[in-house]
Subunit: 415 residues, 2 copies
């Protein structure tokens, strides 16, 4: 049985390139930028007035002049004026171009205007004050946002400013989420005594939505032939298949067997962790498959990774975040940000396994505090609603983990 | 000039009720639940087998029996079997109902099966082991998720399990985002020397998207009559109007004047903060408006709040997160989660104003560390892409804020 580190290492060696697509910039929030965004002009593109007031020549103020005749108005969005007489002033509005032959702006609060004459009523002003100098923030041609940035509202503003109505982003993977298990009925159905409703596929769809991946779902009954036939066709179409269930030791857990028969290379089965141990991961190489004549129509076959998660709700949930998320992020070349949190109480855990402990998170004085949630094991999906995430307690001979220890944390809630 | 606390207090006294709507549960992630989600059955709904293996009577094992004849198989999703002979066993699969007349499950790993006889090869087993008891997690009728929860993938799973194909959530506000300023051209246009492209409206749309609010946008030229006519009609249609620009002291900053003429009650103008000082906030009461005969067709008039943010990009950005976000959250009755972060270096700030300082965030040993980003003031929208959020340094007579101090933090990136 391999460790979580080994499992993650193998998964990260099997990332994929989904390609690049052009999309309207307003649909790009949350997506991964695949080009550098460059300043098309200086930032700001002109000496920009930063306060409503009057523009003058500083040298005259310095020489004692306090009264300035108003020669005109320079509104934002109008062509640059030129001051005709050096000892006059021009009224200027925030966002306007600084008029020619002016170098300093004095805000209205520091000026009295009577009969077309502005009188400065403060004793000190600075040369060039209240002007946002051309190119001060960034020079034309400079890279403003680098490739592989995740686009947030901050980037949206910059992309708009440089006029990139469409931008290049990483394509999203084509993902299919498959449930198995004859005990499952659909959400709108009323289950019989021995049945339950399907829920893991919806949880997985929702977890992928958080990465802006729209996935599809299917259900396959616990029948080996049907399973094989369906998976065969899905392998030709999708970048990733996510299963929930049918990977344990049960009589009807055909999945590992079927995947092997379909020449999907098993890279591991079972990880030394709780919950989520019977996790199966494999890779189907398109070229390899084609040579083996597995597919009738292998021309358009994609490489496909197969994440076959155990069927318990908490197991599926944990494994999706612990393994699928980093696989996706590395595939689209995004840096993984590891958060960590401080354990609020002692925890005992005997098995020599990595322990993904459900926790409630809170901030106290800049510290992220993780308080354990006591669920009833991996089948207890309600416990997920009482928690905010998981801390990862490493596999070790130790049994006791003390209050105040720091562990990596994965959260599924936006604070 | 009021403080940020006073401003926020006034805004939170002017929240609105947007109503409730029924939506398909798979569209509900990120929305605010407006009903309690109740267990329709016990959780689990039956004594659920938690391991693949055999089910026996514990008393027989206790009395020394180790060999059990296999009487049948109980797969997941099939009707409950009854064991006919007390000293036999039944093979059981994870997720199946525990057969009648059995009370304990032994996993395959601890059993050898030869010729239809299962021999237990371990010395100790526990009574009732490997069974997830009916109702252990939750009893039928219990509230599983309370009203006003923000729905995450964890809740999606539970909602599916209890069969709520549609659920009640808070309606989202109808929001219009309006840009003014004649210096602005659209994203696909090439600006003249004294023009710049519109960006704040897109940033605001994107910031609202993070709250799952789809907003609309309009541009109005710097013309008082046009402004008045347009706003008049918008006030009848929207729950909230967000402006960016035209609220300072400029000659063409008609907005406060126009709003007053339209009987929108000014609740404040200008807040003691940097950036974002010339922020105007007001409220248009539907009933009040109707009495005053302001509107031609006031029958369907809504109450409307007006957030008129200053036009500088960083000001608009900060104010949307500092004021609009809490207004929305309180309107839909969601608890605000205040994060805080630790300042990584000394900061000097002279003006007696609340200071929203741009910071880069990182986790170190469970501590959230805020490292200041030096931008070029509120006009520098590129600086937003270099930061992750803002810390709020309170208005005080102090000038120096020391490394290690803790301040509330607002972030716009998902870690």
């Amino acid at each position: 049985m391999i460790t979580t580190q080994e499992a993650k290492h193998i998964i990260l060696q099997n990332t994929q390139n989904f390609g690049i697509e052009d999309i309207p910039f307003m649909q790009s929030a949350g997506r991964v930028l695949k080009e550098d965004i460059v300043a098309d002009r200086d930032f700001p593109p002109f000496n920009r007035v930063a306060m409503d007031g009057i523009a003058i020549n500083y040298s005259l103020f310095k020489n004692g002049q306090r009264k300035f005749k108003i020669e005109g108005i320079q509104p934002a969005g109008s062509k640059q004026l030129s001051m005709q007489q050096k000892d006059n002033c021009i009224e200027v509005m925030t966002g306007a171009v600084l008029p020619n032959n002016c170098d300093t702006v004095i805000r209205y609060e520091d000026v009295d205007i009577i009969d077309g004459i502005a009188t400065i009523n403060v004793e000190t002003i600075n040369d060039c004050q209240n002007i946002h100098q051309k190119g001060k923030d960034k020079k034309q041609g400079v890279v403003l946002i680098t490739k592989n940035t995740i686009i947030s509202p901050a980037e949206i503003g910059v992309i708009a400013t440089v006029g990139k109505a469409t931008i290049k982003v990483a394509k999203q993977p084509k993902v299919l989420i498959i449930s198995t298990g004859d005990e499952l009925v659909d959400v709108h159905e009323t289950p019989l005594d021995y049945q339950i409703r399907r829920s893991n596929v919806y949880t997985l769809v929702s977890l992928l939505d958080k990465l802006n991946i729209s996935s599809e779902t299917r259900h396959i009954p616990d029948n080996k032939e049907v399973l094989k036939e369906k998976i065969d066709s899905y392998l030709q179409e999708y970048d990733a298949l996510l299963f929930s269930g049918a990977v344990s030791k049960g009589k009807f857990d055909f999945l590992p067997e079927v995947l092997t028969e379909l020449k999907v290379e098993k890279l591991f089965h079972k990880v030394a962790q709780r919950p989520g141990k019977p996790f199966w991961f494999g890779f189907a190489d398109a070229l390899d498959m084609s040579e083996k004549n597995v597919y009738q129509n292998s021309k358009n076959k994609k490489n496909t990774v197969v994440f076959a998660f155990p069927g318990n709700p908490v197991s599926t949930f944990v494994n999706c975040m612990v393994y699928f998320y980093p696989w996706y992020k590395k595939s689209v070349e995004v840096q993984e940000n590891i958060q960590n949190a401080i354990l609020s109480e002692d925890v005992n855990f005997k098995p020599n396994l990595t322990y993904f402990l459900q926790v409630k998170l809170s901030y106290r004085f800049g510290h992220l505090i993780a308080t354990p949630i006591k669920g009833n094991g991996s089948g207890d999906l309600v416990s997920l609603t009482e928690a905010d995430g998981f801390i990862e307690i490493p596999k070790t001979e130790e049994i006791e983990f003390t209050k105040g220890s720091v562990f990596p944390v994965i959260t599924y809630r936006d604070f």
